[in-house]
Amino acid sequence: MLSKIPKWNLVLILVLVVEIIVFGLMNPRFWNITILLNSFNDFIGIAIIGFFVTLVVITGGIDISGGSIIGLTSVVTGILSQVVGLNIWLSIILAILAGGLCGLLNGVLIAYGGVQAMVITLGGMLLYSGIAIVLVGLSGVSTYEGISGFPMEFSQIAYGKVMGIPNSVILFLLMFAIAYILLHLTRYGRSIYLTGINQHAAEYSGINTKRIITSTYVLSGLSAGVAGVMLTSYLGSARADFGSEYLMPILTVVVLGGTLITGGKGGVFGTAIASIIVGFLQVGLQMGGVSTQYIGLATGLLLIISVAFLGISSDFKSNMKRLITPKKIVGGKG
């Protein structure tokens, strides 16, 4: 039981290796490391939001507003730098903070208001992309073309390289490292797990679970902000509908990564591998001349199979519970 998640990580790595081999055999160009590394730009948004949505899911919540925060931060970046005329770096920081603010709103309503995470982030999803559309509308920019004309150094964010390694790969590793360290090495991360496993027991242990829960949504919002900036730089313009198709892929990589949807178990390593699997799948299928539309089939099946597999273990859990409970009643004699 205990080694279930690490085992799942092994399965994921195996799937990734098989994937690379198969695609390489179909088209040797796939083994070109530069192409693979460059492809990170195509799924970096999904991956980095996925890392922090993993934290949210471990606390027992869910966040589906990430995709629309991408659009909002993209628009905020564009408007602040191109319409208002602020310094581009300041605009970026403010935009990311705006993402964090969205997360804060989600988190406060969920943790302190006690409303279902699904409903709040659904409302948030509509609201944040709505604000993005409003901002675009009010600034009088064409909705379809978006805001463009960013300075050269801005596009360097996505296209630049450090020692031959694309920035997107570096950002991927950086965000992964942050999420990994926070979740697995700090007491904050431990509190996240404990809260997700048993919020009552966590409270009885003196953990401020509401604050913990809120903070995970803030992190998730901030990461969506970073993803929004990255995507804007990559695509060279700011648009409100960026990220709108990310909703399902983000949840897919989190669940595929082995994080229990009911909370308490999982990790960012699985999410990272799962996002690479899904990302490479896209590249590989494109190269192999297969329509990219098949990706959904693969991820959808993987999703259901993995959850069925992981779900059986949670069945186990309820059986355990049932075994323990009657004992308690019978044993409690006085």
């Binding site: 409903v119 709108s244 949840l251 990706i295 959904g296 999703l303 259901i304 069925a308």
Partner: protein, 336 residues
């Protein structure tokens, strides 16, 4: 008199009141909004969402969720659209669409009840799968040139009222009666309300949860047909993202994601509101880009108020219960 009081207490009534206020306020700004033609149009463009929201209500009542509705809509529309385009009969196309919806719903239901996969994940996976199957089946092409006869269905009027609208409204009323008045229909809400209690009463919980997914699948398929008939062509992304709008509509209409609460009438009104906001903005000469922001904040406000009210009353009840146990002054025995 007490009947009237009862009506005003219903959650749906609040939503309905909101709808009325929406129409009156917008009507005051621009009286064209209240014209028969516009009301008719509002209803017509809401039809698709109404049908989806009715199916979703079944699932939500049992405390589950169905994310796959958009996928089922797209797939069934595409398959039956191809049949129609290639000269197949309309009956066959409709039956095939419904069968597709029922089978996918059945798979969802069995996955949730037998494999115990969370309904969110199960239907999320199903959404992706149905999308791909649609693309494979249609070879990534749009389906156009649907026969005029089929497109006409959505435009047919009886006594000046859209035929489909009449059918859908009648169906909503029938379904509402089934869910609230019939013995078995009430099982759906009972399951979501208190699953243990439902089991104790001998309600076949797993079977009815599966039914709810089948109903949702069939509704999605019907919505697919309406979509095909109204729009006249089916793109590969038909119905994408619609699931969230539908859930929002249902929640707006008073259906709780916690199960057990809500009616299809409420969900229907919610759907009409979601769609009317769009045209209301146009009539108020407010740029349409405000639409999503308004529906989003509306959704959040309504849900948060609801939860806070419910929590307050349950806290109060708990407090009353505990203090009822305490021996009151005058009868007490002192320790020291």
């Amino acid at each position: 008199m007490s009947r009237l009081k009862w009506v005003t207490k219903q959650r749906e009534f609040r939503t309905f009141l909101f709808l009325v206020i929406l129409f009156v306020v917008v009507g005051l700004v621009n009286s064209d909004f209240l014209s028969v033609g516009n009301l008719h149009n509002s209803l017509k463009s809401s039809l698709l969402y109404i049908v989806l929201a009715v199916g979703m209500t079944f699932v939500l009542l049992t405390r589950n969720i169905d994310i796959s509705v958009g996928g089922v809509l797209g797939l069934s529309a595409a398959v039956s659209g191809m049949i129609l385009r290639d000269g197949g009969s309309m009956i066959v196309a409709i039956v095939v669409a419904i069968l597709i919806g029922a089978v996918i719903g059945l798979i969802n239901g069995l996955g949730v009840t037998r494999l115990r996969i969370s309904s969110f994940i199960m239907t999320l996976g199903m959404l992706e799968i149905t999308r791909v199957v649609q693309v494979i089946y249609t070879d990534g092409q749009w389906i156009e040139n649907l026969p005029a006869g089929f497109k006409k269905i959505s435009q047919m009027n009886i006594l000046g009222i859209n035929l489909l609208s009449i059918l859908v409204i009648a169906a909503v009323i029938l379904v509402h009666l089934y869910l609230t008045k019939s013995r078995k229909g009430r099982y759906f809400a009972a399951i979501g309300d208190n699953e243990d209690g439902a089991v104790l009463l001998g309600i076949p919980v797993k079977r009815y949860v599966t039914y709810s997914f089948v109903v949702s699948g069939v509704c999605s398929a019907l919505a697919g047909l309406i979509f095909a008939s109204q729009i006249g062509f089916i793109s590969t992304t038909a119905g994408s993202g619609i699931e969230m709008t539908v859930i929002a509509a249902a929640v707006l209409g008073g259906v709780s994601l916690n199960g057990g609460v809500g009616t299809v009438v409420g969900a229907t009104i919610g759907a009409v509101i979601m769609i009317s906001i769009n045209s209301a903005l146009v009539f108020m000469k407010v740029p349409a880009f405000w639409n999503a922001a308004i529906s989003g904040s509306l959704l959040i406000m309504i849900v948060v108020t609801d939860v806070l009210l419910a929590r307050k009353s349950s806290k109060q009840a708990k407090k009353e219960r505990l203090s009822a146990r305490v021996l009151q002054e005058g009868v007490e025995v002192h320790a020291k």
